[in-house]
């Protein structure tokens, strides 16, 4: 689904070099690596918030370079590690922003758009939050709303920057179960960066390991295998 080939990413200097990496739909990938190794940079490069130093990232044989901003918005959704909420911004209005790539200049949602927003809200069981302000709900609820907004964006790829960082133990597990379910049922490719290695191992996620300027995909089942990568 997404292929990297000889891709170098970073700001001015190369942080990570990805010789070859292929990500599939229907899976949740855990992007792991030590602080400062370039996880966020990698995610931002995939979302084209940063330009590549060299090489290419392709989505089903289309280079991301050739896609317009709006085409990108229909391809990749991005969930920030924490959405703090905005005073007077209702959950419903927040979710409806997810349809922006599909609305006209006025930003008005069609009936189909509205139905879609409602369907996703029901699916993620957040209908009771719709009328509330995004500042009035809990961190866990807000994170679910961010996921809902990404789903409403209706993209085949969802990138998430440390989505579990600010969640408690129970909410982390819940979120991960939800993401796995979404990836399988909707055939999406989800990539999330995290330091929650135990949680990812328990849920048998595929790992993308960033270490020593290299990125590899590995199906680790034991913590020791992973730790080897970091100390190598």
């Amino acid at each position: 689904m997404i292929q990297f080939s000889q891709t170098e990413i970073g700001y001015k200097q190369t942080l990570l070099k990805i010789d070859s990496l292929d990500l599939q739909e229907g899976k949740v990938y855990a992007l792991v690596g030590r602080n400062g190794v370039g996880k966020s940079t990698l995610l931002q490069s995939m979302a084209k918030l940063l330009s590549l130093i060299s090489g290419d990232i392709r989505y089903e044989d289309i280079s991301l370079k050739n896609l317009s901003r709006n085409q990108m918005a229909r391809l990749i959704a991005f969930v920030e590690s924490k959405f703090d909420g905005v005073e007077y911004l209702s959950v419903q209005d927040y979710l409806m922003l997810g349809r922006s790539p599909y609305t006209s200049l006025t930003g008005k949602l069609s009936d189909t758009d509205k139905t879609f927003v409602n369907e996703i809200s029901e699916e993620l069981q957040i209908t009771h939050l719709l009328e509330k302000s995004t500042t009035e709900i809990s961190d866990g609820e807000r994170q679910i709303c961010s996921v809902a907004r990404a789903l409403i964006q209706e993209t085949p790829i969802i990138l998430m920057d440390e989505p579990t960082a600010f969640l408690d133990f129970i909410n982390r597990q819940k979120l991960l179960e939800l993401l796995i379910k979404i990836a399988v049922e909707k055939q999406k490719c989800i990539v999330l960066s995290t330091h929650d290695i135990d949680l990812c191992l328990e849920n048998q996620l595929m790992f993308i390991i960033a270490s020593r300027r290299r990125v590899v995909k590995e199906n680790c089942t034991k913590k020791t295998e992973l730790i080897n990568y970091f100390s190598r």
């Binding site: 979302a47 918030l49 901003r69 709006n70 990108m72 918005a73 229909r74 990749i76 959704a77 991005f78 920030e80 959405f83 905005v86 005073e87 007077y88 911004l89 209702s90 419903q92 209005d93 927040y94 922003l97 997810g98 922006s100 790539p101 609305t103 200049l105 006025t106 930003g107 302000s133 964006q153």
Partner: protein, 329 residues
């Protein structure tokens, strides 16, 4: 989807606006009748008809435009910087306009000698300081530093203005001092079409930007991922703000706190971040606020000559303190 709350407030301000207009027209020293505003023969006006045409109507219209325009430009800045304390005045946009106007009034720049030159000076000053603040704003991540820089910029420009004042000839100094107190009486009837066209241009652009504004509420990066051209939007928002602030500052002098207080008041009343409603609210509440202020000034005339900038600061400054307390709480 419109909430009942917004509907009720729009209803209330729709009733208040015509009341404020009538009050404003009737607060002058000389009582005019309704028919004076609609003369039968324009070439042969009676004293009262002339008073209506040359004083009351221009003053009414510029008051509405200044109130609405400042409120809208404040709203645009607050959304762009995601900061309720942003506004054309705090961000130094008014200071930039003041500096350019001071330069054009008190030095020998012939470029700025015509009336349009004054507007031009205001616009250029507003745009330049807007661009400067924008460049700084995205280097300074902390909102407090941005506000401090804005205040410092204001102090710096006012120091230059003071320097110019000390060097200027008496009559030029007087012209600038009068301008700097802020006044809604300087506009003439035949200037209204130009002012109106510039204002409407800004307003149309604002309405076109409803979708980008709504997206910016959640931050620039998330907005970009949803397909927004952030750089273009930033530039357009700064340009519209400079257009409004420059136009109003050039014609009415600096009017503080309207751009800061009214957008906050509107958000508190409407409890929404949907800019379609916020624009409507700011337009009307801004106009009502300045109409009431100016009506008060007209009613006090004879007893005390109150400059508009003084009155808006007297009301606005405590309101901003209230906002800060609310945030810190």
């Amino acid at each position: 989807m419109i909430s009942k709350r917004i509907l009720i407030y729009i209803l209330i301000i729709s009733v208040l606006l015509p009341i404020a207009v009538v009050l404003h027209l009737n607060s002058g020293q000389i009582a005019l009748s309704f028919s004076d505003y609609f003369p039968k023969d324009v070439s042969n006006l009676s004293t009262n008809e002339l008073l209506a045409r040359e004083f009351r109507i221009p003053r009414l219209i510029i008051t509405i435009i200044a109130g609405s325009g400042l409120a809208i430009s404040g709203m645009l800045m607050q959304t762009l910087f995601r900061n309720p304390l942003a506004g054309p005045y705090v961000l130094g946009i008014n200071s930039g306009a003041s500096l350019m106007v001071a330069l054009s009034l008190m030095t020998g720049f012939h470029l700025f000698e015509t009336e349009f030159g004054l507007i031009g000076a205001g616009l250029i000053g507003a745009l330049l300081s807007g661009l400067l603040m924008m460049a700084l704003a995205f280097r300074l991540k902390s909102q407090i530093s941005l506000l401090l820089v804005g205040l410092m910029f204001g102090s710096f420009t006012s120091a230059i203005v003071s320097l110019l004042e000390s060097l200027a000839a008496a009559e030029k100094l007087k012209a600038y001092t009068m301008w700097s107190m802020g006044s809604l009486q300087q506009v003439e009837f035949n200037q209204l079409p130009v002012i109106g066209v510039v204002f409407l241009l800004g307003l149309v652009l604002t309405f076109v930007l409803i979708k980008p504004l709504n997206l910016l509420v959640i931050g620039e990066k998330p907005a970009e991922v949803l397909g927004l051209n952030v750089m273009q939007t930033r530039f357009l928002l700064m340009a519209i703000t400079a257009l409004f602030a420059g136009l109003i500052t050039a014609f009415c002098g600096p009017i503080a706190f309207v751009g800061l207080a009214i957008p906050n008041l509107t958000r508190i009343l409407f409890r929404t971040q949907n800019h379609a409603w916020l624009i409507v609210g700011n337009l009307m509440i801004g106009a009502i606020f300045l109409l009431l202020c100016d009506s008060f000034i007209q009613l006090m005339e004879g007893r005390i000559a109150l400059p508009i900038n003084v009155l808006t600061s007297l009301i606005g400054a405590p309101f901003v303190v209230f906002l800060l307390m609310r945030k810190i709480r």
